[in-house]
Symmetry: C2
Subunit: 489 residues, 2 copies
Amino acid sequence: MILVTIDRKSEDTLHKQIAKQIESMIKNQALKDGDILPSTRALSVHLEVNRTTVCKAYEELWSLGYIESRPGSYSRIRNRPDITSSKNINETGINWDEKLSPSYKRMSEKMASGGIQYPQNCKIDFTTLSSDPAYWPVEEFRKSINRILQSDPETAMSYEDPKGNMEFRKELSKYLGRHQIYISEKNILVTNGSQDAIDLVLKALLHPGDTVVCSEPTYSYLPSLVACNGGTTAPIPLTDSGMNIHALEEILENNNCSLLYTMPSFQNPSGLSISQKNREKLLELCSLYNVPILEDGFLEELKYHGETILPIKSMDSSGIVIYVGTFSKILFPGLRTGWIAASPKLIDRLAEIRRVTRLSGNPLIQMALTDFLKQGKFEYFLKKVHTRYRERINAAMKAARRYLSLDYVRYTKPSGGYTFLVYWDNPPISEKQFLSELLSKGVAVSPGSLYFQDPSRNICVRISLSKTLPDEIEQGIKIISETIRENCI
Amino acid sequence: MILVTIDRKSEDTLHKQIAKQIESMIKNQALKDGDILPSTRALSVHLEVNRTTVCKAYEELWSLGYIESRPGSYSRIRNRPDITSSKNINETGINWDEKLSPSYKRMSEKMASGGIQYPQNCKIDFTTLSSDPAYWPVEEFRKSINRILQSDPETAMSYEDPKGNMEFRKELSKYLGRHQIYISEKNILVTNGSQDAIDLVLKALLHPGDTVVCSEPTYSYLPSLVACNGGTTAPIPLTDSGMNIHALEEILENNNCSLLYTMPSFQNPSGLSISQKNREKLLELCSLYNVPILEDGFLEELKYHGETILPIKSMDSSGIVIYVGTFSKILFPGLRTGWIAASPKLIDRLAEIRRVTRLSGNPLIQMALTDFLKQGKFEYFLKKVHTRYRERINAAMKAARRYLSLDYVRYTKPSGGYTFLVYWDNPPISEKQFLSELLSKGVAVSPGSLYFQDPSRNICVRISLSKTLPDEIEQGIKIISETIRENCI
């Protein structure tokens, strides 16, 4: 008879004790493939337990694959494949690179230039592009979350309509009125941030091989996101007042364009805003060529220099503009809550895609944001950060006038937001060398190669002020100036 | 001189007052295209305000597109396109159906059969498939959220590593040990729920036109999700013990298969579990044909009938199995937190796709879940719900033996989870008629056409017990039985 013992004081049930001991005998090779187990009757007599206890233990061993025949007849040990042991963590049984899809490969090619390691704890960090945690209204938002979890936890923790929480959509449509976009909740789809929004729109409207027109420079993830969805980007130079209209018309005329992508206010990376005239022209041309406009309003709220150019969407009477927005760059980036404002017909289609690919969003966060907005906390918060970010942009422009007024240096002058570009014409060193020299002096900037698709350019770096104070900004720009001048001697 | 008045007691700044009044004159057609505005000097004298105040007002009007020339020279009113007014909410300028991408169209075709309106407030709701809100540990989870927001709000509200929060990944890898999946955090990628996980895997591995092998019946969203990613599903009949192995081998031999999709434990919709032998055979065949297995463990935790069949992933020593899991069906569905456990090489690639298409997940929810798991709350909660759901499955099986033991009726017998299927062979009415008869008697069930791709079948309905108590279950099954028998007379 096999050596099984019963401990009636153990926390394990009797059948568990039997099963566990037999399992460990199999693992120790005390029981081997083909060995016959005692009958359930014999073992139950031997152990002085009920026969059904032994049956239950054998059943469990059977379902784990350790026993060959079903209980009733004699049971045999069977050769069960081993479960993963810790030594197998880095399995290499499959060549995953061979398995990767064409859409991954296309995406990956477009990402290559963007493979930069952002430094941790750099003295002056000009790379981070998200609102400054120092100003986050965490305590207020925590209260909103608690109010929701205490008043309506069932709605907050359930699946939701694929278009998003209804109250949140109503609040968003009211909220967009401040940018003179007058729509209802029927025009709104909630997304997991604005990148998710762009991905959804591309999934719905991008035809394989078609073109997405964008500016040069453009948002760094756009080319890989478009490639992943089967298309290519057609970049058009961005000037101080907007996209080159002639270049745009030529592309619209000669290409299959699925979309025009634009970030008209405080563009990432340049900080530039497209003029009202240029916005009207974009709208006119796209209407003429029947190409939808994807307007990315990611920094719409950060207007603090008096100029209040309105979104293109505010002029859109035919529904050709698809507007995407987010709270990530103003409030908390980790919220992952953005939205699409578009024609209800398109919103319905986008909701179907969201249902199939994402199932549902997170209603708790949306309900807490609704509470936060309704209590007027957002307005209050916005006023506070406007003052702070204005100080930073002013400090940056002052330092740029002082340190970057060099023949071979140019920079963009934003009227809001918190980024701008510094161009260095005909540099004697490479972008990589420049970046690592700056890093050695404690200054981190983002390389222009992330934002330009044409590689034959001069050096250009993006300065983001979202994590730096006025003093650091001055010091950082001074170091950039010194590094340029040292190399130009 | 135009009629502008200044109210020094108003809350609006002086330049805002001037700009607003001129804007409304333009909107009222009091000022028309080409009209000349007074010079800034003249207006400032007239209004007794500083000239820069008038300049600021004109600047704002220019940036809004109401003025033709820049301030300094005489300014003219220009013909600015109207902003959207509320009457334009349902714009129909674009025929969106023409614009929709092939991937949307493929997806939409596969969704057609699933277009069912779930009833609100049905007396006996057998359709809902998510954990019962009555048992949700909301208060405990609220405490976890508060602990995180009070101890580390900056991490909780920031962008995160595209693989997910590190502590959460460590906790998940420990947690998977309870299913004898022994891996480290390097094998884990966090996702927004398991549907998002499947979408990511398909994006990475599905080649256009290739096949995803699945069972028949299968998860209702799988065919549309696969179609959206450019492939098709190849269904294989599911029996009481698993997939038909001969049919599987034939498909693997004769098709380009990118993946095998399986939900081996308590499958949705059938509640069936694949036997250990069948699991081994799937693993063996897929290794032979070099086809990765996508194992959906969506109800892994709901094992309450003593049978503890382990995930296929636990036997996977070559890394061919990609395991996806979620907390949505056990804890709160609205959390949108799932994971992928796979070979680290593949995890790296999936993280790149997640970065490009989703940017980041929500760290707050992951950190709160980590806290919840670490405090042992999950174990405690699981024990409680096991008892409850076991009662329900037992009540359902008892009622089925009593009411559904008919010649022309069959049903599946799940050993865990909370769903099963009822088949009605050779019915004299259609699925639609059956469903609406049941609805009129207060019973809602899910139609089998959602889960079967072959339309020439008998009637089959899915019963989900996640929102019904034992008494309701008995009553509901009795009504189903009566409805079948009434139609068969």
